[in-house]
């Protein structure tokens, strides 16, 4: 009897092991290192049968987010037998292509990939993530910031697939160079160091502007920033404004006073940031005051400029295997400020150590439409898309636009072993990114209905000041006036109710 038991046990173990090995072997053909067991794994998804059913997905154009959508759609088809139709749309069209079917009651797409800051406009049309998916190990590992980004009120309506933030990128080799340090000290009287404030950023960028500090026979420049009006410039301005306008001890709203819904966009903190932004034009490369995101990525990633700040892309481009500046770059938190506007006391408060306000900027997210007739399949697709193996695979391909959003992504060994980064680059990178999760003075996007109206209005005002058409104060007064009108049109209570969700995140409630 005992021997039969042992034989049975041995057989079971052998079959299980054999099966695991066989399946692990099979799934490696999809380009992953190893399948990670769980609800969303290759193994689990391969047991689903969606033959005869069709999943419709709308996503961004290839490659950013569009390419991984295609890749995992094909894998999903092979594993489940489903047919998956993917529609690719340029970013400028994505909002309306999603919103029009929503407003007209059509069920055009089951799965949607879009910018996470549109949650205020889309949330009423989205299906909350079912409880079952919260138990997936990958979901449990999503960091606090990106759970917050995906959540509306107390419901998660967006499925986390990406993590974005703005941070400072700089040429580490230039900052470490003894000759540069000496020259900088002689010229400015200060030690050359990675800027901790926007004033220091200004000084360093000015010093390294217009001469060949890279030794390649070409002039190089101080700073590359996203400045093209309708090409995500609003996010660059928020990065700069956060330092001056987000007071660590003042709660109740960054863009608006939550109680009164009065815009704060023309208060001294924002005005000072815009003055500094206008001043920064002096150390942009030629054409730098009309740089879109692509130009900024190319300028810093291509070695033209010393510093930059925005999404991960420029850093990742600089760290591409064939990059001339691979392992010569560094990451640090966005510069802060030693004085921050206190809107309660109407005074500038001084800080001995700079006050930092990390900007947890919008990034890619995904969701399932409430009107979808394939919600089960749609959530399984998103769960599969973002499973641990796929996420680690996608993180390694810069053009995919997938950036760290799980605790596991902040393992230094992943960046050194898998991507060949020097430890001296990987450690500050991981610390900078993960450090933002620990901050208690974060700024989030204005995730309210009509967010595009608020942001295009702000971008137009900032652009007018940058072009010298108006002074920073005049330009932001104009934006504040327009914001008041937008709030009145959409409805003060409606905007306030939505904005309360943002303020709750910022106030760490």
């Amino acid at each position: 009897m005992k021997s039969i038991k042992y034989t049975l046990l041995a057989t079971t173990v052998a079959v299980a092991l054999g099966g695991t090995l066989a399946s692990a072997q099979d799934f490696k053909k999809y380009g992953i290192d190893k399948d990670v067991p769980g609800l969303c794994s290759y193994d689990s998804i391969s047991k689903k049968n969606y033959k005869g059913r069709t999943l419709s997905i709308i996503t961004h154009a290839v490659p950013v987010m569009g390419e991984p959508t295609d890749l995992h759609a094909k894998q999903f088809e092979e594993l489940t037998g489903a047919k998956v139709n993917v529609v690719h749309v340029p970013f400028g069209d994505l909002f309306q292509r999603i919103m029009i079917p929503f407003q007209t009651g059509q069920s055009a797409y089951d799965v949607l990939f879009y910018g996470s800051h549109w949650i205020g406009d889309f949330q009423a049309y989205l299906e909350p993530v079912p409880q079952a998916y919260f138990n997936a190990p990958g979901m449990k590992d999503v960091t606090l910031n990106y759970r917050g980004v995906a959540t509306w009120g107390n419901k998660m309506v967006q499925y986390p697939v990406d993590g974005d933030r703005h941070y400072l990128k700089y040429r580490k080799d230039v900052f470490d160079n003894a000759e540069n340090k000496k020259k900088f000290k002689e010229k400015t009287g200060h030690e050359l160091a990675v800027p901790k404030t926007w004033e220091e950023y200004d000084e360093v960028a000015g010093f390294f502007n217009g001469w060949d500090w890279a030794g390649d026979g070409k002039p190089h420049f101080g700073s590359a920033e996203v400045t093209k009006r309708d090409d995500l410039m609003f996010s660059a301005f928020i990065s700069r404004a956060a330092a001056y306008a987000k007071h660590p001890k003042v709660t109740g709203g960054f863009f608006f006073d939550l109680k009164t819904m009065e815009p704060l966009i023309n208060t001294p903190g924002f005005v000072k940031a815009l003055e500094m932004f206008v001043k920064a034009k002096r150390y942009f490369p030629p054409g730098g005051d009309s740089f879109g995101l692509g130009d900024e990525i190319f300028s810093f990633g291509g070695g033209q400029t010393l510093m930059s700040y925005s999404w991960d892309d420029a850093f990742i481009q600089a760290m591409e295997p064939k990059s001339a500046i691979r392992n010569k770059v560094g990451a640090a938190p966005l510069p802060g400020s030693r004085e921050v506007w206190n809107r309660n006391t109407k005074k500038w408060d001084k800080f001995a150590e700079p006050s930092y306000a990390p900007y947890i900027t919008w990034g890619w997210t995904s969701a399932v439409a409430k009107a979808s007739k394939n919600k089960d399949m749609a959530f399984d697709y998103l769960c599969f898309f973002s499973n641990e193996a796929n996420a680690l695979h996608d993180l390694q391909i810069g053009r995919f636009g997938v950036n760290p959003y799980r605790n596991a992504h902040f393992e230094v060994s992943f960046w050194t072993d898998k991507l060949g980064w020097d430890k001296a680059v990987a450690v500050p990178y991981v610390n900078t990114l993960s450090g933002m999760d620990k901050s208690k003075n974060r700024v989030f996007d204005l995730r309210v209905p009509g967010v595009n109206q608020f942001m295009t209005s702000m971008a137009a005002g900032v652009a007018e000041a940058m072009a010298g058409q108006k002074s920073p104060q005049q330009a932001l007064d104009g934006v504040a006036k327009e914001w008041t009108q937008i709030v009145a049109r959409i409805g003060k209570d409606k905007v306030r109710e939505a904005y309360a969700n943002v303020v709750a995140l910022e106030d760490n409630k």
Binding site: P286, G287, G450
Partner: protein, 292 residues
């Protein structure tokens, strides 16, 4: 009666198409313009003239009209001059005339958005070939896209490059259709090439010129894709045209009702302006007594 019904059957498909693709969208746009349809309030409610009152105070919209006028008139004038010049060159028997005719048409055959992306690269102030060329010639680099006047010039250059072939094609077709007799008469009377051009060619081609100019003005006044790709309306609002502004309000901000009122106002203003322009051009260009 039966004959009339028979006629109606033949006219009906055309009428249905007309209603479906012109009248219905137009009437629907007018109706939407009286609604507050936007991102937070979907649907056709009734807010009276609110959008039109808001529009009257919208300085950004009216300023965009002024820019549009500069851009459209400037680019179409240049296209006309260049197109006419090229058509006159190819009109006469020249070597490889067919080759040049096809060559001149190539820009028009390309996709505007793709060409705008290429031109944006050309004008890139750090890496673009436009500034490389200037430096080779010993001229300082120009801020093509970050200076207001130059950004406007850059957009006009792209428009002229893309649409001069249209002028060329229209005017060449016109020149080829002109009767030979007036030219023979002018030659017998001893008129030189300039006099022949001024007193024969130009007056005879004037109706076609006016048609081509008005068609191009209609198209040029809708300029959106070139602005969107090359300057995004910047620097500041220096290259923001009416159609680009309507695009931002309608499809980016999703203020559907307000954008409909902007569109309808734009349509009315353009219809009136172009009618006046066509009449002025006819008066200026068509000479009643065109004897040599």
């Amino acid at each position: 009666m039966s004959v009339d019904r028979g006629k109606l059957v033949f006219v009906l498909p055309g009428l249905i198409v007309l209603v479906a693709i012109i009248l219905f969208p137009l009437l629907f746009t007018i109706r939407v313009s009286f609604s507050g349809w936007d991102v937070a309030q979907p649907g056709l409610d009734w807010i009276g003239l609110a959008n039109y009152l808001r529009l009257a105070e919208d300085t950004r919209f009216w300023e965009s009209f002024a820019r549009l006028a500069v851009m459209a008139i400037g680019s179409v004038a240049l296209e006309y001059l260049l197109g006419f010049g090229l058509a006159l060159l190819v009109w006469r028997d020249v070597r490889a005339g067919r080759f040049f005719r096809v060559l001149f048409l190539i820009p028009m055959m390309t996709t505007p958005v793709i060409m705008a992306v290429i031109w944006r690269t050309v004008f890139h102030e750090s890496l673009g070939p436009a500034n490389d060329l200037l430096r080779l010639l010993g001229i300082a680099s120009l801020p093509w896209l970050s200076d207001a006047a130059l950004a406007m010039t850059s957009v006009i250059i792209v428009e002229v490059w893309q649409w001069t072939p249209f002028m060329f094609l229209m005017l060449l077709a016109g020149l080829l259709s002109l009767p030979r007799e007036p030219f023979l008469a002018a030659a017998i009377d001893g008129a030189g090439p300039i006099r022949t051009f001024l007193r024969v060619t130009f007056p005879m081609i004037a109706p076609i010129s006016i048609g081509a100019i008005v068609i191009r003005l209609i198209e040029a006044s809708k300029i959106m894709d070139t602005v969107y790709v090359i300057t995004s309306g910047g620097p500041g609002t220096a290259t923001e045209t009416s159609s680009y502004y309507i695009f931002i309000r309608g499809l980016r901000d999703f203020q559907i009702g307000y954008a409909a009122s902007l569109s309808f106002t734009y349509l009315v203003i353009m219809a009136i302006s172009l009618t006046i322009i066509a009449k002025v051009l006819a008066r200026a260009m068509i000479v009643k007594d065109n004897a040599v």
